[in-house]
């Protein structure tokens, strides 16, 4: 498909859904406005250089299969569209108009006549146009001249040719004969108004086809070019045809050749230096034959054309081939292509609005258009929002509007924070930990409310988002939380709700809140059996600062207020909790999953105000440090696969470009197995892409596990260091980046830099830090596993 497209300058759709037309149902000719009442047709318009025409305005004549003959005199009205007065004649002929032709067909006339071919006859008309100052007063008459029938035994009329067959006769100069090609393979010639036709059998009785053949006539050589339905092109002198009219077997063509594909259109080019040429548009090729039978050029077409026309420009032969796309060849070289508004079956040229070289196109659904070649690439056009309201935007206007919007946004954001009074969002969890209800209530009506519920993977909220067009009072939205099958627990049990809406005055507002923290009972269920001894066990010990309260019980289901031992199991691992009664009391968590241990530990630490003791077991730390190695190894694998994918994609594109350029050359050439290479490359790309998806999933799982550990680490630091407000804020920032791993892609890098800053400020110079100045994020390439490991080891060492 071409980047450029033809622009419509004028169009008339007169199809009624039933009527249709075929090739040769359109002719363009010029009328005179110098007072003469009669139409003055050009010489054969297909053979005339359009730019040399001196006509003032041209008319378009269109025939249809339902017998409607229409004549248009195109113009543009004040509204920029075609006018009702452009139709100057519409007449029902009473028989189908299969093809039209124009020439001087009646003796004594100096102007040309219109020949209309029907199924069994050809009728000749004189067209008389009376011009006036007003378009409304232009009148047109169709004057019947004569009609010539074609015998039914010869078949149905298939094609009409007009010309001075048999050479010029000085006494009757200008008068042309009519030739009709029938579906029975006969050429019926009505010589200069003769009533009795001369019937020439083009093919022998055995090969006489039911479908008609394509025929053209060269006046320079007085010869017929005949293409048989068996795709054989033959040149016959008219005199030879006449001599062997009754017996085709005795006839010998001047030369003949068999074509490679069926012929769509056949035209004689008369102004070549080497004499006349024969232009053949095949189903997949365009060929120009010299009269000697030598191919001057042949081009492969990317589509099957429906019509063709030619003209000359700067002494070069220009050939136009069209279907849904228009191709323009200059001396056999493709020099332009253009998208067409619809598939066209008839193509011609016209002078319109004083500019010659406009294209006249007729579709099979009877839509007539006058177009010109557009030079704006079509693919960059964007649709307009509102039809009929097209405005050309300028940079200045757009900048001004942008500034206005920015100023308004700034005023809104700086004036006041989102007023909590407008919208209140609360999440109420039900008896069962997995179900809840979001309650939305407003004081003043709001509109375009959009709500998103965000939880850390693998916890999933359903529905994830809700849209409400307008809210006047309150509404409750039921919510369900589920845990998808995954091997790593979430880094956080927090549920965030983000709401955006428009206030009554249209001002947009966004509210983001931590709605609730989901209970750990979602992950752990009471179990009767303790974990097997064979399982690898990790342990954390805590000491209560205050009296034992229900906080632990709230987070660890099944715990008795009096202390004791409880066993739990879940999809992420098993856990045993031991709580000793008394003040101060001790609590220990033991699990076969470090990630689960870290998650529960950090949750308990964060909310219960426990004092942790130094972990007796160093396994969690070792596991965490080992996990860092795994993480970086997986990252390296992922990055190398990504590089491989990029290089493979680049290579595939190179092969694709090579193939495309060969395809667009329009010449048949060997593919050299490039198509196989391309297919192989695409398969490799698919394989790599699938591999990358799996890698990313695995990487995400490891990151979540590491996130749990880092979060616990931060909790331990926070509690043990009894940090002041500024330091707490710093630690919260680290935690936020960990728990929001589903939002921030490079959280590991951010967390590392934040941890490094904690080490530098919290321990190196206690009390020296006055403000929170988080260190710059470490670039992903610079971050080495040893660095993160050393930082975490340092933190644990302090603890």
């Amino acid at each position: 498909m071409s980047l450029f497209r033809c622009q419509t300058a004028w169009n008339q759709n007169f199809g009624d859904g039933e009527d249709q037309c075929g090739q040769n149902c359109l002719i363009v000719c010029s009328d005179l406005t110098n007072g003469s009442n009669q139409v003055n047709f050009n010489d054969n318009p297909k053979e005339s250089p359009i730019c040399n025409k001196k006509c003032i305005q041209e008319i378009i004549i269109v025939g249809s299969y339902l017998g409607m003959l229409r004549i248009f005199r195109p113009s543009i009205g004040a509204s920029g569209t075609s006018q009702p007065s452009d139709l100057i004649l519409e007449k029902q002929l009473g028989y189908p108009a299969l093809a039209l032709a124009s020439a001087i067909l009646r003796s004594g006339m100096r102007s040309q006549q219109l020949a209309v071919m029907s199924t069994q006859c050809v009728a000749v008309f004189n067209i008389i146009i009376s011009l006036s100052n007003s378009d409304l007063a232009v009148t047109c008459k169709l004057e019947f001249c004569f009609e010539r029938p074609v015998s039914e035994s010869l078949g149905v009329c298939w094609q009409i040719i007009v010309g001075k067959f048999g050479g010029g006769d000085e006494a009757r100069s200008g008068l042309s004969s009519i030739g009709i090609v029938t579906s029975g393979g006969a050429l019926v010639i009505f010589e200069r108004e003769a009533r009795e036709p001369l019937v020439i059998k083009l093919f022998s009785a055995e090969s006489s086809p039911l479908l008609g053949s394509s025929v053209a006539y060269s006046s320079m050589r007085d010869s017929f070019i005949v293409v048989s339905p068996s795709w054989e092109i033959q040149i016959h002198k008219y005199s030879s045809l006449v001599k062997t009219a009754r017996d085709a077997s005795k006839r010998q063509p001047d030369w003949s050749v068999i074509l490679a594909d069926p012929v769509i259109d056949l035209q004689v080019v008369s102004q070549l230096n080497e004499g006349p040429g024969i232009l053949v548009a095949g189903q997949r090729s365009l060929t120009l034959w010299q009269w000697s039978g030598i191919i001057k050029f042949s081009r492969r077409l990317p589509f099957s054309p429906l019509c063709m026309t030619h003209h000359f420009a700067e002494e070069c032969l220009m050939v136009l081939v069209a279907c849904e796309t228009l191709l323009l060849y200059r001396d056999g070289q493709l020099c332009w292509s253009s998208q067409l508004p619809c598939p066209v079956v008839n193509l011609s040229l016209i002078r319109f609005q004083g500019v010659p070289g406009h294209l006249v196109m007729l579709s099979d659904s009877m839509e007539l258009q006058i177009c010109y070649l557009g030079t704006e690439p079509a693919m960059f056009g964007t649709p307009t929002q509102k039809e009929g309201v097209r405005t050309n935007l300028t940079i200045e206007e757009m900048t001004e509007e942008l500034n206005r919007i920015n100023a308004k946004l700034q005023a809104v954001t700086t004036a006041a924070p989102p007023s909590q009074g407008d919208l209140k969002v609360s999440l109420i969890m039900g008896q069962r930990a997995t179900r809840g209800v979001i309650r939305l209530s407003v004081v003043a009506p709001i509109s375009l409310l959009s709500l998103s519920v965000m939880a850390c993977k693998p916890i999933e909220a359903s529905p994830k988002g809700v849209s409400i067009s307008s809210l006047c009072d309150s509404v409750e939205i039921p919510l369900t939380f589920t845990i998808s099958s995954d091997s790593a627990p979430p880094t956080s049990m927090d549920v965030n709700i983000c709401a955006s809406y428009a206030q009554a005055d249209g001002t947009p507002q966004i509210i983001q809140t931590v709605a609730t923290t989901l209970p750990l009972s979602m992950l752990l269920h009471p179990a009767r059996q303790p974990p097997d001894d064979n399982d690898e066990q990790y342990k954390l010990n805590f000491t209560f600062l205050g009296p034992y309260n229900d906080t632990v019980r709230a987070y660890i289901p099944g715990m008795q207020s009096g202390g004791g031992t409880a066993h739990f199991s879940g999809s992420f691992g098993k856990m045993t909790v031991e709580c000793a009664p008394g003040y101060p009391s001790k609590c220990s968590l033991q699990s076969n999953s470090v990630a689960l241990l870290c998650l529960v530990g950090s949750s308990v630490l964060g909310t219960a105000g426990l004092l942790p003791s130094v972990p007796k077991s160093k396994e969690p730390l070792e596991w965490m440090l080992g996990l860092i190695d795994v993480l970086f190894e997986k990252r390296r694998h992922r990055d190398s696969s990504m590089e491989e994918l990029k290089s493979k994609t680049y290579w595939a594109r190179q092969v694709q470009f090579s193939l495309l350029s060969r395809y667009r050359d329009q010449t048949a050439s060997v593919l050299n197995g490039m198509d196989t290479l391309l297919m192989q490359a695409f398969q490799d790309i698919n394989h790599l892409a699938n591999k990358l998806v799996k890698m990313n999933t695995e990487l995400e799982r490891v990151e979540r596990q590491l996130g749990c550990a880092i979060k616990l680490c931060c909790q331990l630091v926070a509690v043990s260091a009894a940090a002041n407000a500024a330091k707490s804020e710093l630690l919260e920032a680290i935690e936020a980046s960990v728990s929001s791993s589903f939002i921030h892609k490079n959280w590991v890098e951010h967390t590392t830099s934040a941890l490094e800053h904690v080490i530098q400020t919290l321990w190196s110079s206690p009390g020296g830090s006055t403000g929170i100045q988080r260190g710059p994020a470490v670039a992903a390439k610079e971050l080495q596993p040893t660095k993160l490991k050393s930082i975490l080891a340092q933190m644990f060492a302090v603890l």
Binding site: A9, T81, P84, S85, I88, C140, C335, T375
Partner: protein
């Protein structure tokens, strides 16, 4: 009293307000199909398809805000297509290709009622054909084939000739043309005595104003037509003698115009009981058989649209500017001597050759 602007059949609109979805005077809902998916723009959403005599309207059941209105005058092609629908799987759907002055859009509607999967296609096609063949009800026609014999007007469906006036002069030309005026309940027809092909068929739908005005031929009946492609914005003058008769004819035309304006006839008459429209079970069975062997399936891209603009979903091709827009723009049409064709003048700094070379170099 002139008719309010008729946009229903001449425009394509998206997400219409409720008032625009209401049928206008003279518009009738001919068929309503529930459970129709807009497979192109709102895949997976069921809706209702209302087929009126002027347009096709689709309303989403999911959101009342989402709707479409496709005027028949914008339609280029109505056909069927095998598609892969979200709700129906591989199915045959109604495919409508449309064109407006600025862009081309395509619409695909899938009927979710498996018992009559092409009910909506048959209905839309029948109404569209009827719309195309009834332009004389809605458009001014000059020099048309409106007679089937000498002086015998080819009357339209539901048309009744109210008055025949001989000796009416058409004042379009300098010397005037003598002819006959026929007044029906749908249009005003005038034809010349000497040449029947010189005629005017002016439907009341395109009449903007009827009045008597003084001219160089004396008092004349003046019919002003609507602006735009259907009416052309002409002022047609007719001289009728004597003056009393002129006034009477003017009053008669005003009365008929008023009556027509109250309940206009757009000429689209479809009888859904006819066998052509209701192909019924046979067609459904045929489609099922076709689907069993059909291999060419058009995949509908159901990835989430990043652009929220509704019309982008239906966008098919770019704009085709009219000559008036071109004359206003900076790139006028000129004759290219290299091609021997009319071409939009390339922007400053570009030539036709350089544009084509960019394209071919890029391809290489």
């Amino acid at each position: 009293m002139a008719l309010p602007r008729i946009w229903e059949d001449r425009e394509i609109r998206f997400d219409l307000p409720g008032i625009d979805l209401q049928p206008r005077s003279g518009e009738h809902i001919l068929m309503r199909c529930e459970g129709v998916e807009d497979t192109k723009g709102n895949a997976g959403d069921s809706g209702s398809l209302s087929i009126s005599n002027l347009r096709v309207v689709w309303n989403s059941h999911v959101s009342s805000r989402i709707s479409l209105s496709i005027g028949y005058n914008c339609v280029v092609q109505v056909t069927t297509k095998i598609i892969n629908s979200k709700l129906m799987g591989v199915a045959k759907a109604l495919y409508i290709l449309t064109r407006t002055p600025s862009a081309r859009y395509e619409f695909i509607f899938t009927n979710l009622d498996a018992s009559d999967i092409l009910k909506h296609y048959n209905a839309v096609l029948a109404v569209y054909k009827s719309y195309c063949s009834s332009r004389l009800y809605r458009e001014l026609r000059l020099r048309g084939a409106i007679f089937h014999g000498p002086g015998q007007l080819r009357t339209l469906r539901n048309e009744r000739i109210m008055n025949t006036l001989r000796g009416v002069w058409n004042l379009a030309s300098d010397q005037g043309s003598l002819g006959t005026m026929l007044i029906s309940n749908i249009r005003v027809v005038w034809f010349a005595e000497m040449n029947e092909h010189f005629n005017i068929s002016l439907p009341f739908l395109q009449i903007k104003q009827v009045r008597v005005r003084n001219s160089k031929f004396g008092d004349a009946l003046v019919l002003a037509t609507q602006e735009g492609p259907g009416g052309g914005g002409y002022v047609l003058g007719f001289r009728i003698d004597p003056a009393e008769k002129l006034q009477a004819v003017c009053q008669e035309l005003i009365a008929l115009h008023k009556a027509f304006t109250r309940e206009p006839d757009f000429g689209v008459h479809v009888d859904f009981a006819s066998p052509e429209v209701t192909q019924g079970e046979e067609a459904v069975q045929q489609i099922r058989e076709e689907l069993a062997v059909e291999k060419e399936v058009q995949e509908i891209d159901d990835r989430p649209n990043e652009m929220s603009d509704a019309l982008v979903n239906y966008y098919a091709a770019g704009s085709e500017s009219t000559i008036s827009e071109i004359s206003k723009s900076k790139n006028p049409v000129s004759f290219c001597t290299e091609f021997g064709l009319a071409i939009e003048t390339p922007k400053e700094g570009f030539t036709v050759k350089s544009l084509w070379e960019v394209l071919t170099n890029d391809q290489a």
